[in-house]
Symmetry: C2
Subunit: 317 residues, 2 copies
């Protein structure tokens, strides 16, 4: 038996401040048409795929911050993408900044939607591992204020789509083994991830040369150790003076890279994924029911870090 | 500041059934002398480093099984290694089969000891992720009966030694992200791992070509995602007709391989590890206190697998 999903990596080159949403959606639509011509069932776009990566700036004006967010999805500007999805029968994963209203309170999330081949939203994810910092740090060459602009999401869910069980994550989530594991414990066979990763890491410039290596290592390990496919897609290139890594890739449950983007621009690459191939790992080396030992993992949920308990209180040492 | 630990990988070639413990200990001692000549502070030996890898055989005679186990450590045969350790000032990690008595009950564990530079045991670890199978499966070319012969251990602890915080794991533990994380949450700066990994994986022969890749991937990810050094050391080569991978390696907190064995025989390779280099990762990208979200990891301890709860009961789906 085999359950084939043809997955397109829909990597984006830079989006400058002056680029309108309409112009960006036109690029996304062009890539969807290209993906369709390659036989894609679904195309994976990056994180925050509709605007420039605004968390690099300290912005005080709430209205300016809001201008980067979508109060609804689809919105007027993104509707063409949903319509094209339905027309072509190509689903998609799209990262965007989400403005939500919860009990009369305005909330901002770094989110992604999963859209099926009929153009219908079948899943939403709000980024949990929000990286960067909260305070204004003008000493940096550029900032990374995601912790200021985004409230973390609450759960890693999975969704039935494309004939299988699909999980979603965003950017920094991919470096944390817990992300993949929580989804795999719910049966995830394929995980979609969008990211924006500047080459330069201000607090740890020693990492700059290793950015692409770390990107690939984390995704390969997540795929292998959970017996699932992972499609991880960048917005890369020089955006508003900041260079981001590209290196979008598709990794098999074996941990092998089976497709990869090679430019730092808009680029579509297709991979053919057999969801039944997951079983070769999920039923042997990584048969969780047989081999995991949750009774020994207590600290993973009991502690936040070396000095803090899960609830944020100080640990006695 | 820097806290340097010179770590020797003490890879072993095969140990045949006919090889006496005394002969094996002589090999271990020769390697310790070589490590000392290279300036080593500690040498890491493999898992089950005193005998052939007996779990490949279905053995019914309890006395024969016991013959592969050590009822004490040091034992008469291993004492020369402890004496040489004290003489040279070289600590070690040694994997062995442990016969214990607990409340009048005989228990068998797949264990390792950590010995400081004065030849004193400062830590013990009993393997948690015991792989393989429990029942006689004569259809296999060779068996992997670890689940039959070993009771799983109860906890991943860390130990103060060699000027830092040291964790221990064994073989299959290295493929499970939880192993490294539980130790890193206790401050592990360096993890020692011994392993025996047959090239041929009977239930999943599709993995055979990837054994060395998977070995390296799991260790690199464990080191990078926890900002710690990992020394992972094999018993490799053709042992009693079964070929095992070698490929012992030392990985930095950056995920980079900094030392590697290249033979399938007894081989000593040295790496110079600065424990303070861990901070470059532990205080930035992998600052757990800042960036982890244990409130979203509940399933990791609540579930064993996709169908079983942590206590082994069936999940309702």
């Amino acid at each position: 038996m085999s359950r084939i999903v043809n997955v397109a990596l829909g990597q984006l080159g830079p989006i400058q401040s002056a680029d309108s949403r309409a112009a960006v959606v036109a690029r996304l639509c062009a890539m969807m048409r290209e993906a369709h011509s390659l036989g894609a069932h679904v195309i994976v776009y990056p994180e925050l795929a509709l605007t420039t990566f605004f968390p690099r700036w300290y912005i005080e004006d709430e209205a300016v911050i809001d201008s980067y967010f979508e109060p609804s999805m689809p919105s007027r500007e993104t509707l063409p993408l949903f319509e094209l999805s339905r027309e072509l029968g190509v689903g998609f994963y799209l990262g965007y900044a989400e403005l939500a209203e919860e009990g009369g309170k305005r909330m901002r999330y770094n989110s992604a939607v999963l859209v099926d081949r009929r153009g219908a939203i079948v899943g939403k994810y709000r980024k949990i591992h929000v990286p960067g910092h909260f305070e204004h740090e003008p000493w940096r060459k550029f900032q990374h204020l995601e912790k200021r602009y985004f409230t973390p999401g609450q759960s890693f869910d999975v969704h039935q789509a494309f004939g299988g069980t699909i999980g979603m994550a965003l950017c920094n989530d991919r470096r944390w083994a817990e992300s993949y594991r929580v989804m795999a414990l719910q049966g995830a066979e394929m995980v979609f991830i969008g990211y924006n990763t500047p080459v330069h890491n201000a607090p740890a410039p020693q990492h700059d040369d290793l950015s692409l290596f770390h990107n690939q290592l984390a995704v390969q390990a997540g795929a292998y150790q959970n017996g699932c496919w992972v499609a991880s897609v960048a917005k890369g290139g020089l955006e508003e003076g900041v260079e981001s890594i590209a290196g979008s890739l598709l990794v098999a449950p074996s941990g092998e890279v089976v497709a990869r983007c090679v430019t730092k621009d808009d680029e579509v690459v297709l991979g053919r994924c057999d969801l039944d191939f997951c079983a070769v790992y999920k039923r042997t080396t990584f048969n969780f029911d047989l081999h995991r030992h949750p009774e020994c993992y207590g600290l993973i949920t009991a502690r936040k870090g070396e000095t803090l308990a899960a609830d944020g209180s100080l640990l006695e040492r």
